[in-house]
Symmetry: C2
Subunit: 304 residues, 2 copies
């Protein structure tokens, strides 16, 4: 218990309040008090050792960064501004990297203007990191859900895909691999700036790519009640990654979005985007191969 | 993965939005969108199997209730109104009680007007339940931290103490024991109504009793830079519990507070309270025994 309190104290002294005065009662009280903006946007995510990461390939700081990145990516997908993070650690007695983990998280917090405003540390057999993040918006219209895609909209995606999975395979094979891809896996960057800029540009629906393009596109299609018709040849691939791998690899944390065709230039001004296809009537996702036919295994839809 | 999505879907359909329209985008999008009041009050807590509860003595529903109760108790201690809860479950493959767990949580959510607005379900070797709760207030003055106790203030506590620990011992001995004490352990009730009422009555500092009176009183004293001088004979004991056990047992989730002496009647109108002693200059906690001397082991302070 005393060791736990000591750890909590050293964690607290490692944290920086970058809220510009919005966070009133900070770590050390029963709860954090934050001066709110009109809309609070909140998500919670857990990473578990040997499920979402391995301490054989991830440093404690990598784990902390990644846990915050995963949660912030959900805020990016809503077009919200990052605000506060609340961190709950389950720590096995064999693990002595809790402070390093929080320092890794602080690196990303600093890069994104997030304040780690509270937390909990408990003991347990496996390392698990839960991060709840709250972002903010002044108007509901600024926020983009998954359900607003319309027939005729273009479908775009930020960045390059498949890099994280390629990095993971390189790490696990022990062959090292490209520093860039490995970093994509260990230190994914939530697309917060791109998310707010695409929201302002007029995105009608948006989702972050955590499970892979094929899977997450289906989520967006289902929530919007439409079909996404995408061309595999247009999928932006990370260096050395094949299109099929780019369309299925998870943990990229790029943003998939839909937007009216006349807003195409606005989207291109907002972020580096690739255009994958369009929204049509129907359901699910159709990924068209170079032969002009749906790629088996990557397309999921029901015939009307 | 499909089983996980099915579970998430059945959990979602078991949940009720009781926010009265404040929760805009609910479970099923990347994040929950909530129309904010002026101050957001947020806390996060994790319960881990075989550390904070045992499935030998707690049903899945008990675990869910308790996890939410623990988090809401922090809001009670701030005098905030309960708002939304975000739930992250780490679920071992041997555990099939996830839905029951959430249903137990929903019972307490209903009793307290809380909306479970989002969550995450992942697999892992041990059952761990993290709940982040957000409460709300219209003015910062309505919220009570740990640091506002003044010399001359009275020290009060709600309810009865030691019941949860007595219930735990009865459960673990297998002897059954009093239904009331066992329920105190399995289904603790966060003192939300008492917390807001005591805040309105003028409480100067407040903390919830999760680690036990002796320990939590020291936290409040440290944050306020004062000494709490309490009389053991005044500690309100759960039925059959001795004062020393009542002063050290954890998990009661009653509220310890300080308030100016002239607000005594207002506090008594706000909640069922017992008066334990007063705030004096100094540090730490002194628990006075019947012989008029500090009780060893329960008092912790440094000589000036």
């Amino acid at each position: 218990m005393t060791a736990e309190l000591d750890l909590i104290e050293s964690i607290q002294s490692a944290l920086t309040d970058r809220s510009g005065g919005r966070v009133h009662t900070w770590t050390g009280d029963d709860a954090a008090v934050v001066r709110a903006r009109d809309y609070a946007v909140t998500s919670i995510d857990t990473l578990v050792e040997n499920v979402h990461f391995s301490l054989a390939t991830h440093s404690a700081a990598d784990v902390g960064w990644k846990a915050l990145a995963t949660a912030l990516s959900d805020l990016a997908a809503m077009g919200a501004d990052a605000g506060e993070a609340y961190v709950a650690l389950v720590v096995p007695s064999r693990f002595d990297g809790s402070l390093d983990l929080v320092l890794g998280m602080e690196e990303l917090a600093e890069a994104t203007g997030t304040t780690i405003a509270g937390g909990d540390v408990v003991s347990g057999q496996i390392l698990a990191v839960t991060v709840a993040v709250t972002g903010w918006a002044d108007r509901e219209l600024e926020l983009i859900g998954r359900s607003g895609a319309w027939g005729g909209d273009l479908v775009g995606v930020t960045g390059e895909l498949g890099g994280s999975e390629a990095g993971r395979l390189a790490l696990e094979s022990g062959e090292g691999g490209s520093t860039g891809l490995v970093r994509r896996h260990l230190r994914p960057e939530p697309r917060l700036a791109e998310g707010t800029a695409l929201a302002r540009a007029g995105a009608t629906a948006m989702i972050d790519l955590s499970d892979g393009l094929a899977t997450d596109a289906r989520h967006l299609a289902e929530r919007s009640g439409v079909q996404l018709r995408l061309e595999l040849a247009q999928v932006p691939c990370a260096p050395g990654v094949e299109p099929v791998a780019a369309a299925t690899g998870g943990d990229d944390y790029e943003l998939l979005f839909t937007i009216a065709a006349e807003r195409r230039a606005a989207a291109e001004a907002a972020a580096t985007v690739s255009w994958l296809g369009e929204v049509v009537a129907g359901n699910g996702v159709v990924l068209i191969g170079e032969d002009g036919r749906p790629v088996e295994g990557l397309s999921g839809y029901e015939h009307a």
